[in-house]
Symmetry: C2
Subunit: 349 residues, 2 copies
């Protein structure tokens, strides 16, 4: 009896699965053609007569058929999935880039797998395996904390593009801006406004962009014969708001208080704004502030934040195009995009 029940339930299950989705074979039978012909119709191969095409299309509608990506992908050994690696979803810097990537991806019939590594090496491994496993066709990495060596190894056999963060002299193609020049412009702007004591809130200099932005900061100061003072350079471990608050608190305690601050990210700059406000000082009259990235919220603060805009949407588009080209087997060249200084209230007296 028990055995009978089991058999029945299996039958029901099979029936249900069958009803969920027809396969190409069933469509072929219904249309009275071979599976090959159905496949040709699906892929718009020219050599199908219009009569047959119509029959097949009719059968497809009738059966509510949708081709299985799994079968197709196995055969074509592609997944049409792009892996996008970011350090953390909560960082607004990435949102526009991702939009760019997504737009290009969809236009090329790809989809994106957005993955936050949270600077977790285990996650890295999972995601790297997805490419090895053919579950993704390529990677756009925006994670500066990623394991370089493993990434390079992977890049030998799989398409990878770096976005924003890259490796100097490395072999993996990248899209980025000229961080040094961008920082130079930002600081020069502060100098032109008459500031002579300019502080830098930088992040961890293990990251290339942090080193480059400091170089730009120093270059601007040198060019105008302003002193580079250690007390005015503060390094934060992370880019979050709280670290900006903390950095600014320290900078306000320095003997000779700076009259301007350049922070290497908007979230840091917004933290600085807050701390300056809390201390009863005025931005920009007492201290001017410049951020970096032009995240959405940089426009919502009070005062609004002067910041260096990276062409994020374009960066995303470019990275996606490069990756898709790479997947097609083409050679691609690294690209440096232009930045733009967006002057707003935090530097307008």
């Amino acid at each position: 009896m028990e055995f009978y029940l089991t058999v029945e339930s299996i039958t029901i299950f099979k029936l249900k699965v069958g009803s969920i989705m027809a396969n190409i074979q069933q469509v072929a039978e219904k249309a009275g053609v071979s599976a090959a012909t159905v496949s040709r119709v699906l892929n718009n191969v020219s050599s199908v007569s219009s009569k047959t095409r119509l029959k097949v299309e009719h059968a497809i509608k009738e059966l509510n058929y949708e081709p299985s990506m799994l079968g197709r992908n196995l055969r074509n050994s592609e997944s049409r999935l792009l892996l996008v690696l970011i350090p953390s979803i909560s960082n607004p810097f990435y949102t526009e880039i991702i939009k760019g990537i997504e737009t290009i991806a969809i236009a090329n019939h790809y989809n994106i797998l957005l993955c936050a590594t949270d600077s977790n090496a285990e996650r890295d491994n999972i995601y790297f395996n997805m490419v090895k496993n053919k579950l993704a066709d390529g990677i756009i990495s925006m994670d500066p904390t990623i394991n370089r060596q493993k990434l390079n190894e992977l890049a030998e056999k799989h398409p990878i593009i770096l976005c924003s963060e890259y490796e100097e002299g490395g072999s993996i193609p990248y899209v980025t801006i000229d961080h040094k020049l961008a920082a130079y412009h930002a600081v020069k702007h502060l100098i032109k406004l008459g500031n002579k004591k300019i502080a830098l809130i930088n992040s961890d200099e293990t990251y290339l962009y942090a080193r480059q932005r400091r170089e730009g900061y120093e270059r601007a100061l040198q060019e105008f014969n302003l002193p580079i003072r250690k007390e005015w350079i503060y390094h934060t471990e992370h880019l979050e708001f709280e670290h900006g608050v903390h950095a600014m608190r320290r900078l306000l305690q320095v003997n000779e208080r700076p009259t301007a601050v350049f922070a290497v990210s908007d979230t840091l700059a917004i933290g600085a704004l807050k701390e300056i406000n809390v201390n009863g000082l005025h931005v920009p009259n007492d201290i001017a502030v410049v951020g970096f990235d032009k995240i959405t919220f940089s426009n919502m603060t009070n005062p609004t934040l002067t910041t260096v805009a990276q062409p994020m949407y374009k960066m995303g588009c470019t990275a996606a195009n490069m990756l898709i080209n790479r997947i097609k087997g083409n050679q691609v060249e690294s690209i440096v995009l232009d930045h733009e200084l967006v002057i707003r209230e935090s530097t307008m007296g």
Copy 2:
């Protein structure tokens, strides 16, 4: 000559592809066993002798073999991918939820496909097809603008969970909070502070949560015998900052100016804050403000924002667990989680 070159390049390509990744057959040959045995080793099936297991594991290492997800998924007809639908990546409300989903997903050997619909029906279709196509095993939808009818149809044959936004009396399981009660608490808080003229910045009431939050707002006012005045209720089409600014501008022009504002999202509330500041008024002394969602930035504004916290991380975890259960074929029940009023500077005199 040209022909020769072409042939050669094809050969090279083929060789390269071959070298990229061994398949189960090659591993089997190397280990001197059948593919079935290799598969058993991979899947930890008990009936493999330790000698054979060792041989196979050795061969796997030697060939640097990684099983292809495509083959495996086709056979098992699962993709181990969860589709997460959000209206827009740039909305910070979703970040914590996504983290929760991701954590649970990874713990269960799933990965997430994060997809922004940007309220674009075409995109909806693409994503729905991914499930029909077996490219994803199920959907967590957080998009209130999604096509209800299509979603319901899809839900008949595929696992779907709604997160935050749901359908009253619908058949799709959901996770949410009690929006009405949450709004009631927020407004009651404003009343307890002595406010008698309380404005509401609501979003489009085609969304269930918007209707429910207004009900909560009205219930609180009624309970304390305060008037519900039309001029104090403003509807915005979207949730962005600018709409909050605009709404507040209007509310400040009303004859009898409200002394407090409850906005149904933090971004709207932050817009309101900004506009109040711009008009030389003080928060909370002139006008108190309460938001909704407790997004990261609600803590970075000046003053910091009092807001209703949804348990976003937990919501994400819950939704993911529900979906995975659904995929396993289990029945799941809808869940209503607790909210919390976070009192900060924008209501603390």
